[in-house]
């Protein structure tokens, strides 16, 4: 009902009330507002574009494996009965690991440098985190699910492994060691 009046009053322009000075500020800020809006929208588009491009073209995804397991029998399940490092026929390396209160099993992992290493892990109790300090190997280990992801460690060296999800009163001592062996290719 007030549409026409509203238009008229908009026509009176910005800065009414601020006098000459207010009008000046209003007009200038309005230009900045347009620049900012388009700039911010552009920035958002660049962010989304970068993520979607690397995901689509470089297949860069977070660990998103879908496989379930009964946590109450995980320790004897054939997939996790003998945790450790094994070399597969195709030259890749597989690490089977249990994360439990308050240790990783095995506690020390030795893998070769420069070769893809596939981690497969689960938890027989609460949720844990698996994080190789100084790398981007980082994943949640949840009871009932198998976490799987593949990383290549280019440089030989030693890394601390920490649990980064609160798992009880011993959370802060739950850690392990990753030793990357050999020469960088």
């Amino acid at each position: 009902m007030n549409r026409s009046e509203a238009k008229v009053s908009e026509g009176e322009g910005r800065g009414v009330g601020g006098g000459e000075e207010g009008r000046g500020v209003g007009a200038r800020v309005e230009l900045y507002e347009k620049i900012w809006m388009w700039g911010a929208a552009g920035l958002v588009v660049v962010f989304i574009g970068a993520v979607v491009y690397t995901a689509a073209a470089g297949a860069v995804h977070p660990p998103s494996h879908v496989e379930t397991i009964d946590p109450q029998t995980a320790r004897t399940d054939p997939r996790f009965a003998s945790p450790g490092v094994t070399e597969r026929p195709d030259g890749t390396v597989e690490v089977v690991l249990l994360a439990q209160m308050y240790a990783f099993l095995p506690t020390e992992i030795r893998v070769p440098a420069g070769r893809p290493v596939t981690f497969r892990m689960t938890s027989p109790d609460v949720i844990h985190g698996f994080q190789v300090v100084g790398t981007n190997a980082n994943a949640m280990v949840m009871p009932g699910y198998v976490t799987e992801f593949t990383v290549t460690f280019p440089q030989p060296g030693e890394h601390l492994i920490v649990c980064n999800e609160y798992c009880g009163l011993g959370h802060h001592v739950m850690h392990g060691k990753l030793v990357v062996e050999g020469e960088a290719p």
Binding site: N2, E5, V52, T54, V66, T68, A137, V146
Partner: protein, 564 residues
């Protein structure tokens, strides 16, 4: 009616004199004060819990220091600050905004009181469960860590109480709308209603988690719970929770700050657009907290990444509009040149300084959030100290410091009592900022180094990597102590004003006028029903398929564990 309005408007537009505030018939504000006092009490206890954790970072051999006390205090700090302080403060602020900006009484204030008592009973039950040491599950309460049933039932009652608040808010608005069809919603009310809509959308997830899974499980009526399903429902709630905290802060930034600074709100329509974008995109983003979870396919994680970045945009708009409003304030006070206007702003006013420092902190925290959301880059920071650094800048400062500043502004207006210990109120925001800079910087840096969050002690029996971050953590301990001092000053001002200030005439509660003439009719951004329906559709798209997929998979739940 339209003649009346067009007759009244020019006076409002052509003068910078404060327009007379809300003509509310001198309400007693008892309901508001009840909610705010619970918020302040929760804040005080939460802060006391935090200082002990901060000192733990310096690795001092304090009496009573033990993992049991530490994780209990982390749980209490998180629940009391993030859930209790914020919820009660926002409920109180919401009532004030509606009463003052609509100029009418609340509809069914009785329901408001029932909601208050229900929420308070829930808070008491959950707090007792935490302090008894049987519920050290942290405020995210991920199963299969299992708390005492009173913890979950208390949390559920807090949410039920907040739903009563939502009903009072919506009913009051609808009564006003019936009497004012076709009128634009006052901007602060628009923002508070957006908060209500987001809260209703968000709490569906946590209610399902707590009522269907966790309460029966903790009572032994249900053997097992699937932790991925529970986490998915939790983060359905957990991320929009962030906007539930933030939007009321934005209401203050848009509608109170420019007024206190002596300026005008630069752009009213942009503010409404921002609120509507929050309604649409706050909720379908939760999977960005679960990037590193197994059991959820990558495609849906990517979809939630996109909506997460969209939600950056309204915050960018807010940054511009609010800063432009402040520049207008400075220039109206005669500032010339590029930056002179900054010096003209009332830096000794505790509301102004709180909000300005909160916004500055939020700019940094927001960019940190863009890193967290970056799908693949997230793996560098997930569950590290970076994350606790991030949310202490966002909720712990952008929202909490705004709320503290708002209390300094609000309390005299609600009670007619002048602030006591004004000097303390003036220093407090700067102390908070200084403490948070120390705490925030250290947590971001040590997080990048790989230090996990939520650690009683971070030395890992002398590991080399841990030695590097331990050099830094002492600084965050100092920051924590500074924050504690600031928190206690805030409590002192609140309690001092409440107890030792004589009531007089209360200043009016007034909101900022827009610089350009206000659109008086109801525009597209005011069609909140329509935006709510669209938001529900987006939530359905974002969650129904991934959750359905999860439910169709053969899953094995987990029994409960109480390792505390």
């Amino acid at each position: 009616m339209s003649a009346d309005r067009s007759g009244a408007l020019p006076t409002a537009r052509t003068t910078l004199e404060p327009r007379v505030g809300a003509p509310a018939a001198s309400p007693s504000y008892r309901l508001e004060l009840a909610n705010l006092s619970v918020a302040v009490a929760a804040f005080g206890v939460g802060a006391a819990m935090a200082v002990m954790q901060a000192l733990s970072r310096a690795n001092l051999a304090l009496p009573l220091r033990s993992p049991g006390v530490y994780y209990l205090s982390v749980t209490a700090h998180g629940v009391l600050m993030a859930l209790v302080f914020t919820t009660f403060f926002i409920m109180g602020l919401g009532y004030v905004v509606l009463r003052a900006a609509l100029g009418r009484d609340l509809v069914s204030e009785r329901l408001g009181w029932i909601s208050f008592w229900v929420a308070l009973a829930g808070t008491a039950a959950a707090t007792a469960a935490i302090l008894s040491g049987t519920s050290s599950v942290l405020y995210t309460f991920y199963p299969p860590l299992q708390a005492h049933p009173a913890f979950y039932i208390g949390a559920a009652l807090l949410v039920v109480g907040s739903w009563g608040w939502c009903v009072v808010m919506v009913r009051t608005y609808r009564h006003w709308r019936r009497d004012n069809p076709g009128t634009a919603i006052p901007l602060p009310v628009h923002g508070m209603l957006a908060t209500v809509i987001i809260w209703l959308l968000a709490t569906v997830g946590v209610a399902a988690e707590v009522v269907l899974l966790l309460i029966p499980w903790s009572l032994g009526l249900r053997e097992t719970v699937d932790p991925v399903l529970a986490r998915t429902l939790f983060w359905w709630f957990g991320h929009p929770l962030v906007y539930f905290w933030l939007l009321p802060a934005y209401v203050v930034w848009y509608s109170v700050l420019p007024r206190v600074a002596g300026g005008r709100l630069f752009s009213d329509p942009l503010a409404r657009l921002a609120f509507v974008l929050f309604i649409l995109f706050s909720t379908p983003v939760g999977l960005h907290h679960q990037f590193l979870d197994p059991g959820i396919p990558a495609g849906w994680k990517l979809a939630h990444t996109v909506s997460t970045y969209v939600i950056l945009f309204p915050s960018f708009l807010t940054a511009f509009t609010v800063i432009a409003s402040l520049e207008v304030a400075g220039r109206l006070k005669g500032a010339a040149g590029w930056f002179d206007w900054i010096t003209k702003l009332p830096w000794s006013d505790p509301l102004y300084s709180s909000v300005a420092l909160a916004m500055l902190t939020f700019a940094v925290g927001g960019f940190g959030g863009a890193v967290n959301a970056a799908y693949a880059m997230n793996a560098m920071v997930h569950n590290t100290a970076w994350v606790q650094g991030h949310f202490h800048l966002t909720v712990g400062t952008a929202a909490a410091l705004t709320f503290m500043g708002t209390s300094y502004w609000l309390l005299p207006r609600l009670t007619g009592k002048e602030l006591r210990f004004k000097g303390a109120a003036q220093v407090q925001p700067y102390l908070w900022f200084a403490g948070m800079v120390m705490f925030g910087v250290v947590n971001h840096v040590t997080g990048i180094m790989g230090m996990p969050r939520r650690l009683y002690e971070a030395s890992y029996v002398g590991a080399e990597a841990a030695a590097r971050w331990s050099e830094w953590t002492a600084i965050s301990a100092v920051g924590g102590v500074v924050l504690f001092v600031s928190a206690m000053l805030y409590i002192a001002v609140m309690v001092g004003t409440w107890l030792w200030s004589k009531p007089g005439a209360a200043p009016a509660i007034e909101f900022a006028e827009p610089l350009s003439p206000l659109r008086e009719d109801r525009g597209v951004w005011d069609r909140l029903g329509l935006w709510t329906i669209l938001a529900i559709a987006l939530v359905a798209i974002a969650y129904f398929y991934p959750i359905g997929q999860l439910l169709r998979t053969e899953r094995f739940g987990s029994p409960g564990f109480r390792p505390f």
